[in-house]
């Protein structure tokens, strides 16, 4: 059965939380409560728990702002679709946050340039870059400050990893962050 297959993946990949669907502010509230309770029960250190949630919220709000994926049916429209996974990587013994959403193909090059630029920097330089961008407002737009990737990188313990999937002529952007 499907649940057995999903359970097997969840156990193998150390998944603590997984969601695919329409993402919204009320979803974030639910996510924070659920993951917060889970981390508390596991005795996860407060700053680690907070870093995971900061990265996850940035990824979720990116999906809400940029996802091109929607489902239109006879009963209505479901928009801002995306996937978010939080888990524990047994091999590197670190938590990870993995997000995915369909993007506008025109944004592909911009995403690559932006992440590659951030990945060249160490933590102090990322901190400096974030403050410089906040000061200048150069990447700000009507949906946000445009500094989500820098904030994620600052809170992570490894370079931001990304890839693009092409499915049925659509481009999906996947981002993986280790904390």
């Amino acid at each position: 059965m499907v649940v057995s297959q999903i359970r097997e993946i969840i156990n193998k990949e150390g998944v603590c939380f997984v969601f695919y669907g329409s993402l919204s502010q009320s979803f974030i509230n639910f996510f924070l409560e659920t993951i917060g309770e889970q981390f508390k029960q596991k005795g996860i250190e407060k700053n680690l728990s907070k870093a995971v949630t900061i990265i996850a919220i940035e990824q979720i709000q990116n999906i809400m702002n940029y996802s091109q994926e929607e489902v239109i049916s006879s009963i209505g429209k479901c928009r801002d679709l995306g996937m978010i996974v939080v888990g524990y990587d047994y091999e590197s013994q670190r938590y990870y946050v993995n997000g995915s959403n369909e993007i506008d193909p025109e944004n592909r090059t911009k995403i690559i340039t932006r992440i590659d630029e951030i990945n060249l920097l160490d933590n102090q330089a990322q901190r400096k870059l974030l403050r410089q961008k906040l000061k200048s407002g150069e990447d700000a737009h009507n949906k946000g400050a445009g500094v989500g990737f820098v904030e994620m990188a600052k809170r992570s313990s490894a370079k931001l990893q990304y890839e693009f999937d092409e499915i049925d002529g659509k481009i999906y952007f996947n981002i993986l962050t280790f904390v």
Binding site: N47, K50, A51, I57, E58, Q61, L134, G137, G144, A145
Partner: protein, 126 residues
Amino acid sequence: MENLKIEATNHSPYIEFNTQEGKFTISGMSYPENTFEFYRPIYRWLEEYYATTTHSMTTLNVELIYLNSSSLKAYFDIFNIIEDANEEGKKSVINWIYDRDDDIMEETGEDFQEDFEDLTIHLLPK
């Protein structure tokens, strides 16, 4: 000038700006869906306050638990307004209050201290 009071939600902070006392409070979570829409009235209110206030000192207590990257930008803009007023002699003190175990909020406060050297920003762990 009217006081400003905005109740907290799960994703936006409690805001209380008291004109008569020159005391402002911001507390809670900050990750609104549209950050600029949420903070725009606050920028306008602050600009008007500093243009008209006779207080020689204004106190802003900021006690945030979490803020997303867009909110960081919003606080950068708020501190810019306060810094501009400061240059015109309308002094302010900002108390950045955070949980003493919260390294992330402490670091955020330190960054603001470095970026706004002319402002008095106290880091207050509790």
